[in-house]
């Protein structure tokens, strides 16, 4: 059939710009930066960066959890709003995402710094400046701020797909509001939670801008390490090796989460 041929330009594109680059990463990760010969040195020297990698994963997990705690009630509130209001509220949640995240993060600096807006206000009440920036908390705040919409949107989609008659049935069968939530709404929204968590976790674990602006010397993230290998230290082979590890890790995490969520619910979502 001729229709099949329509996909061939894309198949060629995909091979060159998706598959080949990954091969390039593997090639660089296993070769020496000077001689170009096969070596395991890059992979071995990742060992020096284990503490940073673990810390990145930890901060990204904490951010995902906070996003869930904040985002779930917001998604629920939107899903329970009037039909005509829902679209407007969702646009309101999405709008900040499409504005420069660099500038929005810079705005946080002026809120949090020692001479910043929050400390100025506190100062008026005679409270001495709090260390709000250059620490883990500030980095987590930056992540939560930037990626919260990624949590709200998938949870909202799942919640708005729940058949209201299921909730009525649960009520008829004697559930109170807490029971309806715990036994019907929450289990049905697991797939949205999983997809929200992974959508927050992936960009959070690999960020380098947020940690650079809001973090200090002690909050180097794995993304910072990769960035510096390419932009300042110029050791692309080590950078490629760390990228490879990061990529494998992300794919394992996502694979695990998908297994966790089960496929039936995903089908129900479609």
């Amino acid at each position: 059939m001729r229709v099949r041929g329509l996909a061939s330009p894309y198949l060629a594109w995909m091979s060159i710009f998706i598959i080949l680059p990954l091969c390039a990463v593997v090639y660089y990760a296993f070769t020496d930066s000077v001689t170009g010969e096969f070596t395991l040195r890059n992979i071995v020297s990742i060992g020096n960066y284990w503490p940073i990698l673990i810390k990145s994963i930890w901060l990204a997990l904490v951010s995902s959890l906070i996003c869930l705690i904040l985002g779930y009630p917001v998604a629920l509130a939107i899903a329970r709003a009037k039909q005509s209001r829902q679209r407007f509220l969702i646009l309101l949640v999405m709008l900040p995402m499409s504005m420069s995240f660099l500038l929005r993060t810079i705005a946080w600096v002026s809120l949090l710094e020692d001479t910043g807006i929050i400390n100025n206000i506190l100062g008026k009440f005679g409270i001495s400046p709090l260390p709000l920036i250059r620490n883990n908390g500030a980095v987590v705040l930056g992540m939560v701020y930037n990626y919260l919409p990624y949590m709200i949107l998938p949870v909202y989609t799942v919640l708005s797909h729940i058949d209201p008659s299921l909730i009525e049935a649960a009520k008829d069968l004697g559930c109170n509001r807490t029971q309806v939530f715990l036994k019907v709404i929450l289990p049905l929204s697991v797939s949205g939670i999983i997809s929200g968590v992974s959508m927050v976790f992936v960009p959070a674990v690999s960020t380098f801008y947020i940690s650079k602006k809001l973090g200090g010397s002690g909050t180097t993230m794995i993304g910072d390490v990769i960035e510096s290998q390419f932009k300042t230290a110029y050791n692309p082979n080590l950078g490629a090796a760390i990228s490879l590890v990061l990529m494998v890790m992300v794919f394992i995490c996502i694979g695990l989460m998908e297994r966790f969520s089960g496929s039936e619910e995903r089908e129900a979502l479609m």
């Binding site: 646009l91 002026s110 690999s206 950078g239």
Partner: protein, 281 residues
């Protein structure tokens, strides 16, 4: 909506918009520090219009966004139509690869493309490969999955007999596409185009690894100000872009609200987090 939920919603929306309000206030400020509002002024807007670096960079961003979203939409639409007719196994393999740029952290996508371009440059004996072309190729690459995933559901839901009927009535396949098929999948094409355009316009991480000194975009310039304080005309530009986007969204909301009275979420909303659910289509 119970009261507690309403309060959380309002607090979170305030949290999301607080930095934006601050940036807009900064555009009317005589000082350069966002934290201290000195006096009200329009002079930052004047400085913006007289500026000779920001506007060309914004134009660069727009050029890349328009070209990459149009090319990705054309390639992606063709791909979505073709992929439907593949066998189940091959189709799921293709969709798995298509999902890679969406699942991968942006930094890995950027790094991997930059390594490819550097290797390619070595192959053709050119040292300065990074520039407009590599930036465009990278943007098309990360836009493609969004356009494919946006068109795919429309193609799946389309009745195949429509196209067959058009051909029976004497249409060539090309005519059948432009007279029948395109009307069925147009909403998917449009939303794919819009998503690709906004993704491309705002992308920093991938661009940062594949741009060359000869051709930068606005986000890259903003990033390069990391150390020094930002000139407030950037806040003026931000405010103007925000106002434009707001206007577009309001108009779109009114138009699509009139177009269908049936309650339906916008395609864009659905697509943003659709990435993993697509193999099922």
């Amino acid at each position: 909506m119970s009261r507690a939920l309403k309060i959380i919603l309002i607090v979170v929306l305030f949290f999301l918009y607080l930095p934006i309000i601050l940036l807009i206030a900064g555009s009317f400020n005589t000082g350069t520090d966002l934290a201290v509002f000195k006096e009200f002024t329009f002079s930052n807007y004047g400085a913006l219009f007289r500026d000779r670096t920001l506007i060309p960079l914004l134009l660069n961003s727009l050029i890349v966004a328009v070209l990459s979203s149009v090319i990705a939409t054309a390639l992606g639409t063709a791909a979505a139509l073709g992929i439907r007719s593949f066998g189940k196994r091959f189709r799921s393999a293709v969709m798995t690869v298509t999902n890679i740029p969406m699942t991968n952290p942006d930094i890995v996508t950027g790094v991997s493309l930059s390594l490819l371009f550097v290797l390619g440059g070595k192959l053709f004996d050119r040292s300065n490969v990074l520039g407009f072309t590599t930036l465009l190729l990278a943007h098309i690459t990360f836009n493609l999955p969004y356009t494919i995933l946006s068109v795919m559901p429309r193609v799946t839901n389309m009745d195949p007999s429509l196209r067959e009927a058009a051909m029976d009535l004497g249409c060539t396949p090309v005519q059948a596409f432009f007279k029948v098929v395109i009307h069925e999948i147009l909403p998917g094409i449009v939303s794919g185009l819009l998503i690709a355009f906004t993704m491309s316009l705002d992308d920093f991480v991938i661009s940062y690894f594949v741009y060359g000194p000869s051709f930068a975009t606005l986000p890259i310039e903003i990033y390069s100000y990391t150390k020094k304080p930002l000139p407030p005309k950037i806040y003026a530009l931000f405010t103007l872009l925000f106002a434009m986007l707001l206007a577009v969204l309001i108009v779109m909301n009114i138009v699509s609200g009139r177009a269908d009275k049936r309650p339906r979420r916008s395609n864009i909303t659905q697509l943003v987090f659709r990435r993993k659910d697509v193999e099922k289509t």
